[in-house]
Symmetry: C2
Subunit: 358 residues, 2 copies
């Protein structure tokens, strides 16, 4: 098959052997795979992959790796001994993980578990979800990105009087905003340097957007909440709590630190960025403020399923996230383009054979 | 009065003006004040005090500052307009904070709110707690340290199957251990390089003590929990959760990072150390593991009250924490001695007049 292959730090599209499904595995044909910022994190930071003792994500520059973990695909065949739960030709997706003898692996972030930037790849039979939808595969494939934001928004446990502040307005942030909106939270504040991203935030449900180059997001938060009843605020402060819930969706060193320094006492921070370089954090300030930081983690399985159904049913409209579609030959260029914050939240890769048939 | 005064980074005992209670303030005579590691953090890190935009703790090297925030004292007089809630001569303590026009201030960490390393100091009338106890003041004064650990242990929300791991065995850690024991948690693991501190941990209720120079605390944790039912572990892991609750009580750069790198996925970390230098944290590892870090914060008022009553009633025996007693003239030397992890968890300062009368 043809695939966009990561090797020695760069991506090129060429022929590689077809993947062969083992026991419990499904061979699928790629219909559409979205480019995610964590593809860039992964390819740019081999030391982070080499350093991960979980084994979920590994990186070896000397072997072929096919990235791509936000996909919509079609069942082709099953490995030995399968119950063949869905017929060949069924459109499917799944959480981007593969279970097996060596523990869990993230699909598209391991040499053994190639992802959707190739014509074919493998899924875990037990995680297969049929796509019950008339929506195009390019739309369905972003449900994994939506699931990350969906789960984070749900796990942030925003209470009725909380005012969430979303830092960064990439695809994950936009999903966070859409989910917070569904949960009835508000006003929702969202900050990004890029005007087009702020426009997307409004489209997805943000009530107030902030240009951090103009005003501190925390000052904006204080302005918006200035009318809150003083007694409520004092009561919450006495209980070591704040109405401030910050969802960090940037993943660049210094951002989490700036949140620690800027936020209110008792703020709860949901940190989804996961900067591969790490961040130097003011632990004394964090201690004085009694901050809580929940680091991302993947979406819980039930949250992934909910987000997938919301995207497939069209009840969560992801069209504002979608930019152009490219072929396999253009993956290297499209990965580079995805670095540009002025671009769309998602560029989608559709293998050439699929494109021809559209 | 005489006081141990912090000025230009060093402490000397000399005469300073007597404090004068303002409206809502109480003049108290110091009976006993314990030396806390945060006195050392405060005096060693003027940049951290200068940098704290909360105003709770401020530091000016060019003015006199009297530290000391774990105290037992005796009511002398009240400021103008007071209801005089407790008679002169009553033994009292309080949370080490003062409310007023300029917002909240930590007692002993601001020029305007001197602490208990002088013969007299001021308390906030609204926070005054009478000491209903026959225990000596040297014992009662450590209740504030106990409150920090007590509140942290309660806020850590240890569940029935959780196995807590306490990193560091200083006074706060020992209070955490004692409180966890009361809450029925266990087995409780505690790690410290110093044999005498490990012995104290056992005395306060730890079930397993670990020398991190010999074995990784996380390996020890895995060994202790190896017998847990596999199905329970898998169920928890699927819910993004772990039975691992780590309470960090060290406050030295690198320790929080080593916890992030060493701990299980889904671990909840209660970080009480608050290293003034900050810490470089592996945010990607924290994200992959879905870690939650709750940074200290002060004890909640109700937790402070509970801990104070537990110490005063003798139901929580703090005697293992207590080392020698020193006079005001010896505070500088005793602060230095408190840097030695081989020393006792608490050295207590008793002003000279009080010592003479004992």
């Amino acid at each position: 098959m043809r695939a966009a292959v990561l090797r020695q730090g760069r991506v090129e599209t060429r022929a590689v052997p077809d993947p062969v499904p083992g026991p419990g595995q499904v061979l699928v044909r790629t219909l559409a795979t979205a480019i995610c910022a964590s593809d860039l994190h992964y390819m740019d930071h081999p030391e982070a992959g080499a350093d991960d003792d979980s084994g979920w994500s590994t990186y070896d520059q000397d072997v072929d790796i096919v990235m791509g973990h936000e996909y919509c695909a079609e069942v082709v065949d099953y490995g030995p001994g399968s119950r063949r739960p869905l017929a060949a030709g069924t459109r499917v997706s799944s959480r981007p993980v593969m279970f097996g003898g060596g523990g869990m692996k993230i699909i598209g972030q391991n040499p053994e578990t190639p992802g959707g930037f190739g014509e074919f790849f493998l899924l875990d039979e037990t995680l297969l979800k049929p796509v019950r939808s008339d929506l195009p595969s390019e739309t369905v494939c972003v449900s994994d990105a939506v699931a990350v934001g969906w789960s984070a928004a749900k796990r942030a446990q925003v209470r009725p009087n909380d005012v969430p502040l979303v830092i960064g307005c990439g695809a994950i942030a936009l999903s966070v905003i859409a989910t917070l909106k569904r949960l009835g939270a508000g006003p929702i504040l969202a900050a990004d340097f890029v005007p087009s991203r702020r426009a997307l935030a409004l489209a997805m449900g943000a009530d107030v957007v902030i240009d951090p180059g103009e005003v501190s997001p925390f000052q904006a938060w204080r302005d918006v909440t200035a009318d809150s009843h003083e007694a409520t605020k004092n009561m919450m402060a006495a209980a070591g709590s704040s109405a401030c819930v910050v969802i960090e969706c940037v993943g660049v060193p210094g951002v989490l630190e700036s949140i620690i320094r800027g936020c209110e006492r008792g703020t709860r921070i949901m940190s989804l960025g996961g900067a591969p370089e790490g961040d130097h954090l003011s632990t004394l300030t964090a201690k004085r403020k009694g901050l809580n930081i929940q680091f991302g983690g993947g979406p819980l399985p039930e949250h992934w399923n909910e987000a997938f159904e919301a995207v497939c049913s069209g009840s969560l409209d992801v069209s504002p996230l979608l930019g152009r579609t490219v072929g396999l030959e253009e993956v290297a260029e499209a990965l580079d383009a995805a670095r540009d914050a002025n671009g769309p939240a998602r560029i989608v890769v559709v293998p050439d054979a699929e494109r021809a048939s559209q």
